[in-house]
């Protein structure tokens, strides 16, 4: 299959358009001067990614992405913004030009790693039945039978993450201090 063949299929045009939108909004996430805008661009990026998953017949993964990332993780980010010094408007200090070379190296390395592993894993495999979503049968069985150990480890990692988060975030305040800071 040549690139021209690939382009001749209208489905791939949709794929390209969504992909471009994802990249564009991902770019705005890092360039936006307003943290809340950045979080909203991240929502757009994730929504586009979910749409790409849908196009690749991964229905369950797509909605999981919406539910967990858009519904929970970004809300966590927004709360993170609200509990810190609340730079709810433009924050020029967000730019850190000194760190740019390092960031470029890290993101390039991550990109190469992901591209390499995806190519190694799938190579030129093609989805034969685009449009037929994978049912949850296969998914549940591979999750709980084949990948049971990673599955349990995820549970442990989540626990560790929360304990760590609380230890960092929460010095137990006295009621007097609480009162001073104002109840909600």
């Amino acid at each position: 299959m040549t690139f021209a063949d690939w382009l001749s299929d209208p489905v791939n045009w949709v794929y390209l358009a969504i992909g471009a939108a994802v990249v564009a909004s991902a770019f705005r996430v890092v360039t936006s001067q307003n943290v809340v805008h950045a979080a909203l661009f991240l929502v757009a990026t994730l929504a586009g990614t979910a749409a790409l998953f849908l196009m690749m017949s991964a229905e369950f993964v797509a909605w999981t992405l919406v539910l967990v990332y858009i519904g929970a993780v970004i809300v966590l980010f927004l709360f993170g913004i609200m509990i810190t010094r609340a730079p709810l408007n433009v924050e020029p200090g967000l730019d850190n030009p000194k760190a740019r070379p390092l960031a470029a190296v890290v993101s390039l390395g991550l990109f190469v790693l992901l591209a390499y592993t995806s190519l190694q894993a799938f190579g030129s495999d093609q989805l034969t039945d685009v449009g037929t979503p994978t049912d949850t049968v296969t998914l549940a069985e591979s999750l709980i039978v084949r990948f049971v150990l990673p599955f349990e480890i995820v549970g442990f990692v989540l626990l560790a993450a929360l304990v760590g988060g609380i230890t960092i975030a929460r010095r137990d305040l006295t009621p007097v201090e609480e009162e001073e800071r104002g109840a909600v």
Binding site: V75, A86, L88, L158, A161, G165, R170, V176, V184
Partner: protein
């Protein structure tokens, strides 16, 4: 079952967006537009706002969001398991039970640390002796 299932959702989304757009635009035609300084000031029950709205929120909100992320992941896994409950049998129950135990432990930890206590008075029991001295 094909991706055609998503066509109605797309149509509905377009319809809802058109409806929202129409509602805002139509009312823009018919409604008066006479802004005054007082009218467009932030509403504070008639008092002039003295401080910016942005202030720090208690960290408890962040805790709740963190806990919710964990429960969301748990719910996703539980859905995958519950829909294949029959085929997975006791093995599935066991695998999910271990996972759920981690989540329950998380909840218990947060509970014990008092992060779920939003009532200031209830939190007194988490004070150390030094805190009580200070109080």
């Amino acid at each position: 079952m094909t991706l055609n299932d998503y066509l109605p959702l797309l149509v509905m989304m377009v319809l809802a967006l058109v409806f929202v757009g129409a509602a805002v635009l139509i009312s823009r035609i018919f409604s008066p537009k006479r802004p005054t300084v007082e009218k467009s000031a932030p509403y504070e029950s008639g008092i002039l706002p003295e401080t910016e709205p942005a202030q720090r929120f208690p960290v408890k909100f962040y805790m709740v969001a963190m806990l919710f992320v964990i429960f969301d992941v748990e719910i996703i896994f539980l859905f995958a398991w519950a829909s294949r409950f029959n085929d997975l049998g006791w093995y599935g129950i066991g695998a999910v039970a271990i996972f759920t135990a981690f989540v329950l432990e998380t909840l218990a930890y947060v509970w014990k640390r008092g992060a779920l206590d939003w009532n200031v008075k209830h939190r007194a029991r988490y004070m150390t002796a030094a805190d009580r001295e200070a109080a």
